[in-house]
Amino acid sequence: MTNVGIVLVSHSLELVKGLEELLNQIKQSVPIAIAGGTDENEIGTDVFKIKQAIQSVYSEKGVAVLFDLGSALINAELALEMLDDTKYIKIADAPLVEGAYAAVVQSGIGGTLVEVIGSAEETKNLQKIIR
């Protein structure tokens, strides 16, 4: 793969399914994987789903992980610990939806993992409303 992969982690499977659909509109060339809900697709997160999602878009170009709430982070970090080589995997400190949008745009133009994570984290400073 020539583009940084994006993994979307949420407590809700439906939420990340919708987000994926929204993102797929922008750039088809960006590998996107989702990990939503518990192993029974209830509200929660599942470390094995996250691990699998990361693996499914893994390349040395890198993987950027975005998540919704703190408890998803616990499982995301645990998933990383279960993987052998995590040099090319980074978790973004960014809002899920807005960060994922920026990440996909940046990955779509061939950005590096550091640039993709940077774009995602920049959305914290995004002024959404001009008053």
Binding site: G44, V47, L69, I74, L78
Partner: protein, 207 residues
């Protein structure tokens, strides 16, 4: 007498019974400062674990703990899942292939659990989490060559109740800020129950 795989199993089986009983109570605590599912989460996870324990055979406490950790990891759901899962996996890792576990070894293993909890959750003392029970509990076990289990039970109860006055800094409850004060942390409550059941089993074998 010593702590063997039988005691480990008994502990977890008893714990399952307790979590089924206290399901509503734990969820009510979580309703006040979280999303109201902690009792459901623990009951679900330990029910799965119980099913597993009924059929699987383990030769060492280490194997049993590691397997238990894996079940909790994926079946509890919520933040407490990877936390309790990590705790058991780390304890299992520390115990290696020991058949009889001494009090010192058990304390050392649970210290590894605590390190795992800290690494995973990045919470500190007084952040109003399960750590507010775990940290003093492990300290007590490590500092007392011979443990007075009644004292231990008193301690963890106090610490669990002590979370009431704290403001949450970690987990969902932290969104409430100062409004989280006045409620017992649900994870502290489930950890309290975990240690009480451990104390009972240890007393039973005169550890």
């Amino acid at each position: 007498m010593a702590f063997t795989v039988d005691e480990a199993k008994l502990w977890l089986i008893n714990l399952n019974k307790i979590y089924q009983q206290e399901k509503m109570y734990l969820s009510e605590l979580d309703q006040a400062i979280g999303d109201g599912d902690h009792g459901i989460n623990m009951a679900r996870g330990f029910n799965e674990l119980n099913k597993k324990l009924e059929t699987a055979e383990y030769h060492t406490t280490a194997d049993l703990f590691k397997d238990a950790g894996m079940v909790l990891l994926s079946k509890v759901g919520g933040a407490s899942g990877p936390l309790y899962g990590t705790a058991f996996i780390k304890a299992g890792g520390a115990l290696k292939d020991k058949e009889e576990v001494t009090k010192e070894e058990l304390a050392a293993a649970l210290f590894e659990s605590l390190e795992g909890l800290k690494l995973r959750g990045k919470a500190r003392l007084e952040d109003k989490t399960m750590l507010d029970v775990w940290i003093p509990a492990i300290e007590f076990l490590q500092n007392h060559p011979k443990v007075d289990w009644d004292e231990f039970k008193k301690l963890v109860k106090e610490k669990m109740e002590g979370t009431k006055k704290l403001e949450a800094k970690k987990g969902r409850a932290s969104y409430l800020g100062i409004r989280s004060v006045g409620h017992i942390d649900p994870g502290a409550a489930s950890s309290y129950l975990l240690f009480v059941e451990l104390a009972r089993v240890c007393e039973g074998v005169g550890l």
